[in-house]
Symmetry: C2
Amino acid sequence: MEEILSAAYPFWGRLTGDERERLLKSCSMVTYGKGDQIHRSDMGCKGAILLLSGLLRVYILSDEGREVTLFRIHAGESCVLSASCLLDSIQFDVIIEAAEAARAAVIPVSVLHPIMDSNPYVGLYMYKQASERFSDVMWMMQQILFMGVDRRVAIFLWDEMVRRDQPVLRMTHDEIARNIGSAREVVTRVLKYLSEEGAVSLKRGRVEILDRERLQKYL
Amino acid sequence: MEEILSAAYPFWGRLTGDERERLLKSCSMVTYGKGDQIHRSDMGCKGAILLLSGLLRVYILSDEGREVTLFRIHAGESCVLSASCLLDSIQFDVIIEAAEAARAAVIPVSVLHPIMDSNPYVGLYMYKQASERFSDVMWMMQQILFMGVDRRVAIFLWDEMVRRDQPVLRMTHDEIARNIGSAREVVTRVLKYLSEEGAVSLKRGRVEILDRERLQKYL
């Protein structure tokens, strides 16, 4: 465990022996099933999450139940928004959900809090990570505000193909819509268009990329 | 000047005498006219801005020239996005413009950079401030994504009335649109509706709030 934490958290070298021991002792391995909610404003403040495998999705929810994905957390990345109670300047709520089955190392806030107070490098890391997600959100916001939905769908399909290293994406239109912050009907329309163009083929719950070059034209 | 900086920057007490002297010596008073651009990606990295009077507007720009206001900086507040070159994790560009004539104390990046490297409290402050703006942007994003434009216009008028402590707002529909991230035509339609309802009266380049209670219904 020490190896994992010291590689992931750049403040590790700035901790005292006692601080390290407390973090190691309190850190727990947690597994999540696909679709599990990991963090929500009414679930209390869990702690700092270090994702070891799987994929998490961070999103906001409107009063009417509309979801907009802000960013996703990949294996090897950490997430501090699940410890937002420690970050005074973070004044918004997000929901974190396992988009795929996932395994994570979680440091509880009760242990992190006093260490963050006494060691500025820990807070510096936490806020730096939050600022990195700020960049992700700005990118998403620019996409939503300024970019056509056809391009957002194409970019999403392309990124997923590259990430999974295979052309078949097992996802419903609704899941894709929630990932790009759009409506299901709109995504269905765009996918139908892309399939008529021969870029993808559609089956229930899956999208297959048939022609990379053709898809690339929409990026 | 020392009084101003020490009151505004919580890391002041954590600086060495030498660091304080370098900041004081390099800090300059700058004045901006209404509409002046203060920061833009191609203008280089100015430094940390502490606004002493006036109002700044921070916005993004689409390829087609559409503006979306992210947040505004009021007198007494600082802005670190104008020193984003020092913040590795900030990977997006914003434009900062004087929405009203303004006066600011600017600490140049050349002086801030080495101090930030050697003193973790300075970086902690910078990233903490950036995270606070993250909260502002999330609020704006939720407004744009989830809230009707009539409500956004009403909230904007209300906030301006409270801030200026007077019911007359000298602003064009276009300026209001850019502030709430909408289009001029849409704002004009909403204002016309609010004026028919008797909540506001419209004249060229100004909006007057006639009936607070009526306006409040739209908040």
